[in-house]
Every structure is written in structure tokens, then in C-alpha cells.
């Protein structure tokens, strides 16, 4: 489907474009979002860091306040001044518990340390040196200290009474709870990392599983504090937990996925947007494609319509664009083609010479008339009109005059016909299709035509006499279809021509006969090759010398479906079709082969084979016969060729020439069916024949018809006068034989001796006959 492929292309292109654009926009948005997210996260982290340092400070302040309260307590001062360790320790515990500090310590001026937790005190080494020094000088100190892998926020105050009599301090341990708390407050992952002796150590935090290790590795790799860095899935900020101490690092982190999660719905929206745009693009493509394909489809339809030969169907074109132009061009083309085709059609359907419709229109017009005739209750009459002497006119005058005659005749017939239609069938034949309720009107009109041509035509200043032959057939009386009507009208014409009638109506049966002839003509060669055609032999007996034998080869056709087909019927058919020469050659070949067989059986016999008029026109025949005789080693005198009188009438010279050549081969020629034709005696005299066969129509009733007796007797005498032997055909009784013998007839042939027999039977008959003769 070309439309589909165009749509598909457009669709692919547009959707591809949208997807490309959306992808670019999506990626750009992604980049911007990532940037924004990172910035947001950075801001969040920094804010978190700020919050974190405030919380740390708050803790320290709280702690400081608490320590201050402790150091200013008079009782505590008293205890310190009096070096009452137990009281000091309990006071430390009490105050530490009050503010939930993890440890409290008191260092006397003499360096002695008292702690709230003795175990804790045991682990202390010199962690307080820095704090102590600072507190000595400033009265107070704050720092992060590391004890046994734990980090503490520590505040130390001088105990004054009123001069410094010792230092008291308290510490918050930075614990898991603290980071968890911080996470709750900031929403960030919080980790505490110690950075001692250039080594990072993860103290505690909210990271899980392997994450602490990764963080340590990352910190070792990237030691920048106070800056945001990104690794794995984390946006991270590492800051010193306090200003005072860089050894405790707080790491605040936002998981990227978490930061991006706010934007994930944006991604979904972008995706949906992309889908919607793709869909819109699809619709647009569909619309665009349709806006193109619809006119194209229309044009294709128009083109197909034109191809189908419809030129008059109007095409509605609304669009004013290029496609509209194309459509209009199509319409113009359609009109032009239509007009030209009309012209061509007219020319093809009309005879240029007479301007009459030609044979192409015969069937359409006939069928049209037939279909109209029924409702009108009329009959359709088809007249085939032939110029009887046209060939003569053409030959004797000139082709130009012939053409002029045709034009005149056509126009004259057309003028004479005030209803119906005249067509030119071909060469000198015209057709007239008429509708009338009965034959009478037609007969009138036929007579009108004959009358019209009584006066010669004036053509190129000369007068030309023409005569018409007219064959007529009627529908539905004579035929039930257009083609049978035409065929039957033609048959009527032929019949009329052959029987010298000016006008001839079709008689029922003619067509069937004609069709049978056609059938036989088609079947002939097949039958010949299939062996359905065979040669029968009828003996010819010499009346003076009964042992002088002859036989006439007769063609018999036993068709498996049509049965026995009379030679009278099919010989005529194959003569008119020209197939007779094939039959003759076959007959000669077969007969000579049989002769060879008879000769081989020591039977002296002559065999007659019939030749057709057409055979005599074939110059190769004598050579063929000679070759056959030679190849079968059959003496020429054993072969007799019979020809009919009428055969020699046409192209007599050529026939005579071929006959002489046959006779020169040494074989005998015989005139067949003598008495039925129109042969003249002068011609007979010229013929190189040696035998004359009297047609059986004169013989059959010889014993009863005096006329026949007279004719036969005269013919025999005539034959003998001309030096020919005479054979009588159709001898069926002893009486006739006796008569013939009496008349001096040389040879007799007929049922008296035998009917025609197949070769094998005939040979048996010969044996029987010869035995009967006493040989």
C-alpha cells in the first residue's frame, strides 16, 4: 500500500522528531535538575551544617552553664578548698546527672584529678592538658577530647575561691543517639569521624553497612573540609565539629537518590509529556498524511477510472493547492483522453471508405437490436448484401473505381434505409439490421434495393452496373443469438449466390449442415491419423475376360461418435477445405501398399484411386506417385487414377499438363462419373485418358429405361470411337450386365459382384472369385 508507506514514513519522521526533541529536552532538564538538586543539596547541607554547629554550641553552652553553676557553688568550692575528694566526686556526679553529661572531672591546683566515674578517670592520660592550660589562663575552656575512641565535648571552668583553687569540667560524649537526633532534626545523614595522626576513624553516625568504610576511604582520598563533595550516591559535606578542634569531623550527607526523589515525579511528568507529544505528533502525522494521501488516493481513483475507460465521470476538486492543480490536470487529461478515445473508437468502429460502422459494431448493434426487439414485439432481420460482380469490377476497371463503387453502394443502401442501420461487413459485403413485425416489410425493402441498382451507377464519369445478392435471416424465427443470426444470414447469402437467387431467406437446417461440415473438417485429420478412415475396394470385372481384375479404392470413414460418414458428404467438405490433397496422398500410399500385397499373392489386378480437381493443381503429385510406385516396386500399369469431368473444367491447362505427366509415368487415367458434368467433346478429345466410367445413375435402371439404354449405348460407342475403354458403375443385376455386354461395354462394377470391401476381405473375395472362375 503506497499510501500506508507514506503515512508510515511521515509518522516515523514526526514521532522520531518528537522523541529526539523530548530526549534532548529531557536530558537538558535532567542536567539542570541534577545541578539544581546538587545546589539544593549543597544548600541543605550547608544549612544542616549551620544547624549542626548551633546544636553543638547549644550543647556546649548548656554544658558550660552547668559547669559554671558547679564551680560557683559555695559548697563545691568548700569541698575543693578543703580537698574533700568524696564530696567533690559526688558533686561532679550530681551535676553531671543533672545535665546528662557523661563525665565530670575536677583537677586540683596540685594536679590531682577527681572524676565522676573512677573507671573513666583511670583511662585518662594527658587529654586535659590543653583544656587545663586554657582554663588556667582564661578561667574557662572548651574542646573536643578523645578518650578511648570516644569523642567528648568538654567544658572546663576554674573553681575560684575567689582565686583559682582548681578546675572543674564536664563532657558530653558524642554518641550514636546524638547523630540519630541530628538526622531527625536536619534530615541528613550524620557521621562523626575522628582525624587523629592523619588517620580517619569512624566514630558513629547514621550510615549503614559498608557506607562508613566507604566514607573513611573517601575522606582519606579527599581531605577537603568545609566543601561539598560527591561520591557514590552521596552529596557530602565534612566540617569540623567545632571551631576549636579540627580533629572531630562531622560529615553531613544527602543521598543523591533521596535528593533526586523530589524530582522523580518531574521525570514521570516529562515522560508523560513526551508520550503526549508523540501521540500528538502521530495524530498530526496521520492528519498530514491523510491530507496528502486523500487527494492522492482521489487522483489514483481518477487514474484508475481513466485506465478503466471512464472519461466522463466528473471529478470534484475542492483543494486549491498543488494537489488541486494536479487533480485539475488529471481532469483535463481525462477529457482529452476521452475525446481522443472517442475519435479512435469512432475510427476503429467505422469504415473510412464508406463512413459506415464496420464489423466491430456488428455484434453490439445486433445484440442491442435483439434486446430491444422483445419489448417491441418485433423481429430483427439481418441482411447480408453482397455486390455480385464486384471482383469483376475491380479486376476489369480499377481499384479506385472499385472503391468508388463501394462508397456509392454503401451510401445508396444507407439512404434507402430509413430505419435500422447499415454496416460494412468487409470487402464488398454490407449488413443491414432492421426491425419489423414481419417478413413482408423486409421483402419490400429488398425489392427496393434491387430496383435501386437497376440503373447503373455513375462513377468517375463511367457507368457501372452492379447487382446485389442478399441473404436474410431473422431473429427469433431463424436464430436465437447474434452470432448464429449473422452466420445464418451469411449461409443464406451463399446459398443464394450458389443458386443464382438475388435474395435468399435462410431455411432451417442449413446452419446445422454447415456446422456438421465444420465439425467434419475439424475431425478429418484426427480421424485419418487414428485410423478411422480406411480404404475399401470394389471389384471391376472385365466382361469379355472375367479373369482380368480391377478394383476401385473407396474411402470409408467410420467415426467413433458420428458413425459412418458418407463420402459424398465429407469429400465435399475436405475438398472445400483443401484437405483433399492429404486424403489423396494417403489413399495413393495405402492403395499402392495393398497393390503390393496383391501382387505378392500373385494376383494380377489394377487399382483405381480417385483424384480430386484440387489434386490436379498440385504439380508435385506426379513425382509423388512415381516415388510411391518405385518404393513399393508396383508397376505403373497397375495403377489407375480416376478424375471427374468437372475437375478438369477449372484451370484446364494446368490440369491437362499434370494429367499428361501422370500418364507419362505409365499409369492409366480414367474419367469418372461420365455424363453428369458439362465436359465438352473437344475437351474430352484432348484428355490423355484411356477409360471412361459411366455414372451409375444411368446404369441402375438400365433394363427398364429406354432413355438410359440409348445414352449408355451411345456413350459406349462414343468411348470406343475415341479409343477409350468403357466401364459401367452400379451394375446390380445379371440383366443389366447382359445388356452392357451386349452394348459392348468393357468393364462392369457394382453390387452384382461385390459391395466395397475392406482390404483383407477384398483379398479373400478375389481368391474366392478366382477359384470360382476355375483357375
Amino acid at each position: 500500500m503506497p499510501k500506508f508507506s507514506y503515512l508510515l514514513k511521515l509518522l516515523t519522521f514526526l514521532i522520531g522528531l518528537v522523541i529526539a526533541l523530548e530526549t534532548i529536552s529531557y536530558l537538558a532538564t535532567r542536567v539542570i535538575i541534577n545541578k539544581a538538586v546538587t545546589q539544593n543539596a549543597r544548600a541543605e547541607l550547608l544549612a544542616g551544617g549551620e544547624l549542626f554547629s548551633r546544636i553543638m554550641q547549644k550543647n556546649a553552652e548548656q554544658l558550660a552553664l552547668s559547669v559554671k553553676v558547679l564551680t560557683e557553688d559555695f559548697g563545691f568550692k568548700d569541698a575543693v578548698a578543703t580537698n574533700d575528694e568524696k564530696t567533690i566526686a559526688s558533686a561532679l556526679m550530681n551535676h553531671s546527672a543533672r545535665v546528662k553529661a557523661d563525665i565530670g572531672v575536677m583537677i586540683g591546683n596540685d594536679g590531682k584529678l577527681v572524676a565522676s566515674d573512677e573507671k573513666f578517670a583511670l583511662q585518662l592520660d594527658n587529654e586535659f592538658a590543653g583544656l587545663q592550660a586554657q582554663a588556667q589562663v582564661r578561667g574557662q575552656a572548651y574542646d573536643i577530647i578523645f578518650i578511648d575512641g570516644h569523642a567528648y565535648q568538654f567544658v572546663m571552668f576554674a573553681v575560684k575561691a575567689p582565686v583559682v583553687i582548681g578546675l572543674a569540667g564536664m563532657g558530653f560524649e558524642i554518641k550514636q543517639d546524638f547523630s540519630a537526633e541530628l538526622r531527625k532534626l536536619t534530615g541528613l545523614e550524620v557521621s562523626f569521624v575522628s582525624h587523629l595522626d592523619n588517620e580517619f576513624h569512624y566514630l558513629n553516625g547514621t550510615l549503614q553497612d559498608e557506607q562508613p568504610n566507604n566514607l573513611i576511604a573517601q575522606l582519606a582520598l579527599n581531605e577537603k573540609l568545609g566543601d561539598v563533595f560527591i561520591y557514590d550516591d552521596f552529596i557530602s559535606l565534612a566540617v569540623p565539629a567545632t571551631r576549636q578542634n579540627q580533629q572531630l569531623i562531622a560529615v553531613l550527607q544527602v543521598p543523591l537518590s533521596h535528593a533526586l526523589s523530589h524530582f522523580s515525579h518531574l521525570n514521570v511528568q516529562l515522560f508523560i509529556l513526551a508520550l503526549v507529544f508523540s501521540l500528538l505528533a502521530g495524530v498530526a502525522a496521520l492528519f498530514l498524511a491523510r491530507s496528502v494521501t486523500r487527494p492522492v488516493t482521489l487522483l489514483a481513483t481518477i487514474a484508475r477510472r481513466i485506465a478503466g475507460g471512464f472519461y466522463s465521470t466528473p471529478i470534484v476538486v475542492n483543494s486549491a493547492d498543488e494537489l488541486g492543480d494536479l487533480a485539475r490536470a488529471f481532469i483535463t487529461m481525462q477529457k482529452a483522453i476521452g475525446e481522443r478515445e472517442q475519435q479512435v473508437l469512432y475510427q476503429s468502429e467505422h469504415d473510412p471508405l464508406t463512413g459506415l460502422p464496420n464489423r466491430l459494431l456488428i455484434f453490439p448493434r445486433l445484440e442491442d437490436s435483439i434486446s430491444r426487439s422483445k419489448p417491441l414485439q418485433q423481429s430483427v432481420f439481418l441482411l447480408v448484401i453482397d455486390i455480385k460482380n464486384f471482383t469483376q469490377i475491380n479486376d476489369e476497371l480499377s481499384q479506385e473505381i472499385g472503391d468508388a463503387v463501394l462508397r456509392e453502394v454503401g451510401q445508396k443502401i444507407d439512404r434507402l434505409l430509413n430505419y435500422g442501420e447499415v454496416l460494412r461487413l468487409g470487402s464488398d459485403e454490407f449488413l443491414a439490421i432492421l426491425m419489423a413485425p414481419d417478413k413482408a416489410a423486409i421483402n419490400e425493402w429488398v425489392e427496393l434495393i434491387h430496383a435501386a441498382f437497376k440503373t447503373p451507377l455513375q462513377v468517375s464519369g463511367i457507368q457501372v452496373s452492379v447487382e446485389m445478392n442478399i441473404g436474410i435471416a431473422a431473429y427469433p424465427e431463424d436464430a436465437d443469438s447474434a452470432d448464429s443470426l449473422l452466420r445464418r444470414a451469411n449461409l443464406a447469402l451463399n446459398h443464394g449466390r450458389n443458386s443464382e437467387q438475388r435474395s435468399c431467406w435462410y431455411q432451417s437446417g442449413w446452419d446445422e449442415k454447415h456446422l456438421r461440415r465444420l465439425h467434419l473438417f475439424r475431425e478429418f485429420e484426427t480421424s485419418l491419423h487414428a485410423g478411422h478412415i480406411s480404404l475399401y475396394y470394389q471389384p471391376k470385372i472385365n466382361l469379355e475376360q472375367p479373369d482380368t481384375l480391377g478394383a476401385e479404392a473407396l474411402v470409408r470413414w467410420h467415426h467413433p461418435e458420428l458413425g459412418f460418414i458418407s463420402p459424398d458428404e465429407f469429400i465435399g467438405v475436405i475438398e472445400s477445405s483443401g484437405q483433399i490433397t492429404i486424403l489423396t496422398r494417403w489413399a495413393l500410399k495405402t492403395a499402392i501398399a495393398h497393390l503390393r500385397q496383391l501382387l505378392d499373392e500373385q494376383i494380377k489386378i489394377t487399382c483405381s484411386v480417385n483424384l480430386s480437381a484440387l489434386d490436379l493443381l498440385v504439380d508435385e503429385l506426379p513425382a509423388y506417385v512415381a516415388e510411391l510406385l518405385q518404393s513399393q516396386r508396383v508397376p505403373a500399369e497397375n495403377l489407375v487414377l480416376e478424375i471427374t469431368e468437372s475437375a478438369i473444367m477449372r484451370e484446364a491447362d494446368k490440369c491437362l499438363n499434370n494429367l499428361r505427366r501422370l500418364r507419362d509415368l505409365g499409369l492409366t487415367l480414367s474419367i469418372d462419373d461420365f455424363g453428369t458434368g458439362y465436359s465438352s467433346l473437344s475437351q474430352l478429345k484432348k484428355l490423355p485418358v484411356s477409360e471412361l466410367k459411366i455414372d451409375k445413375s444411368f446404369i441402375l435402371n438400365l433394363d427398364s429405361s429406354e432413355d438410359d439404354q440409348l445414352i449408355v449405348r451411345s456413350t459406349i460407342e462414343l468411348g470406343h470411337t475415341l479409343g477409350l475403354s468403357v466401364t459401367a458403375e452400379g451394375v446390380e443385376s445379371e440383366a443389366i450386365k447382359t445388356l452392357l455386354k451386349h452394348y459392348g461395354c468393357d468393364t462392369a462394377q457394382g453390387y452384382l459382384y461385390s459391395k466395397p470391401l475392406p482390404a483383407a476381405e477384398f483379398i479373400r473375395w478375389v481368391h474366392t472369385y478366382l477359384i470360382g472362375l476355375g483357375r
Binding site: 556546649a60 578543703t82 589562663v137 572548651y142 575560684k160 575561691a161 571551631r243
Partner: protein
């Protein structure tokens, strides 16, 4: 760090009382300076005679409290001196001392209601007020009637009978002990001494600010 507590005390029993004006035999004129040579006031110099006189009298000294300050800031007294702590302010004070030389406490009082305190041991007594942290005063209890406090120009004069003495120096800012030295006073000429005190703490006696913000 035990600048205030580590002072060695020479508590010599004194069997007599001499009016310095009456028995003017020899004189020490001393100038007290710091390491930079600047004069120091409130420095106390005591001359401990080899023969401790007996003290039968009970002299009285005053340590007043005015405008939330002890006045004077430094008081030098002979052992067995009775010190009164009148309160001239309209607020009450809670004077105390945790010094080993004299531990006492005068609970909140007004005016002259407080009982006098007798300082019977030599040594440094640091006074404070439990209510007002900024109030600090020093009482130097010495085992001799021959002592003096430097004035603003760092000068002091002690008149004592000619003889051999141990010289002791006290000052609130003096961290560590001032080394004792021997001094022979003669009638002929007054002894001229310049005593350099070092090391000195930065602002001894001035209480550090209590602002927590300085922590962070």
C-alpha cells in the same frame, strides 16, 4: 599553679611590741617593680627579725566593703591581729576564706554586725564574697611588726631596729614564691632596695569575664 597556696610561712613567735615611730633606729626604703621596671603597688614587704617578739596586744585592722569591693584590696597584718569586716554597702555580703591560713565565713550581713576575725596564723588569706564573684582581697598575715605596703609609685618605707632580718615579699600577682633574702639594717644609713617581682600573673586578682561566648 599554686601561686597563692604555696607560700612558705614563717610564723615566728613575737614577744614584744614596738611602736615604729618611737624606736626609729634603722630604715628600709624599697621600690617594688615588675620585670619591666614598672612600679608595683599593693606589694607587701615584711622584715622578719631573728628574735621573734611576743605579741600580747590584739591590734585591730579594718577590711571594709564598698561598692562591691574589698577596701583595701591588700591588707598586711601582724599575726594575732583582729580584722573587722564592716559592710559599707547597702547590699549584704557573704565574706569567706578557704585559705589554710585562716578559713572562715561571715554569712550575709550588713554594717558592723559581723564579728571580728582574729588571724592567728601567718600566711596569705584570700577573701571572697560568695555573692559577688568579683570581690577579691588579700590579707597577708606576717609574724613581724615590721612590714609595709607599696604605694602607687611602688615605694615603701619600713623602720625597724638595726639588726638582721629575713625579707619576705607578697603580691597578689606574684606567681610562685618570692625567694626570701637576708637583710641587715644599720642605724647609719637607710637601706635602699629595689625589689623586682617576677613572674607575675597577667591580671591576678581581676576575675576573668564570665561571658560564655568567650568559650566559642
Amino acid at each position: 599553679m599554686n601561686a597563692w597556696f604555696g607560700v612558705k610561712k614563717y610564723l615566728v613567735a613575737s614577744g614584744f611590741y614596738v611602736l615604729s615611730q618611737a624606736v626609729a633606729a634603722a630604715q628600709l626604703n624599697a621600690t617594688i617593680v615588675d620585670a619591666q621596671g614598672a612600679p608595683l603597688d599593693d606589694a607587701v614587704v615584711a622584715l622578719i627579725p631573728a628574735q621573734q617578739p611576743d605579741y600580747n596586744s590584739l591590734p585591730t585592722a579594718i577590711m571594709d566593703q564598698r561598692q562591691n569591693m574589698f577596701v583595701p584590696k591588700v591588707l598586711a597584718i601582724r599575726t594575732n591581729t583582729q580584722v573587722r569586716f564592716p559592710n559599707s554597702d547597702d547590699v549584704r555580703h557573704h565574706v569567706y576564706s578557704f585559705s589554710p591560713a585562716k578559713k572562715f565565713e561571715l554569712r550575709l550581713y550588713h554594717g558592723m554586725t559581723a564579728e571580728p576575725v582574729v588571724f592567728d596564723k601567718s600566711g596569705t588569706v584570700v577573701l571572697g564574697c560568695n555573692i559577688h564573684d568579683s570581690m577579691v582581697a588579700y590579707i597577708y598575715v606576717v609574724d613581724t611588726p615590721y612590714f609595709a605596703k607599696s604605694n602607687a609609685s611602688g615605694q615603701l618605707h619600713i623602720t625597724a631596729p638595726a639588726g638582721d632580718y629575713k625579707l619576705q615579699v607578697y603580691h597578689p600577682r606574684l606567681s610562685g614564691d618570692y625567694p626570701e633574702s637576708s637583710l641587715q639594717l644599720s642605724d647609719a644609713t637607710p637601706s635602699q632596695q629595689t625589689i623586682t617581682l617576677q613572674p607575675l600573673s597577667d591580671s591576678a586578682g581581676d576575675a576573668p569575664t564570665d561571658e560564655l561566648s568567650t568559650l566559642f
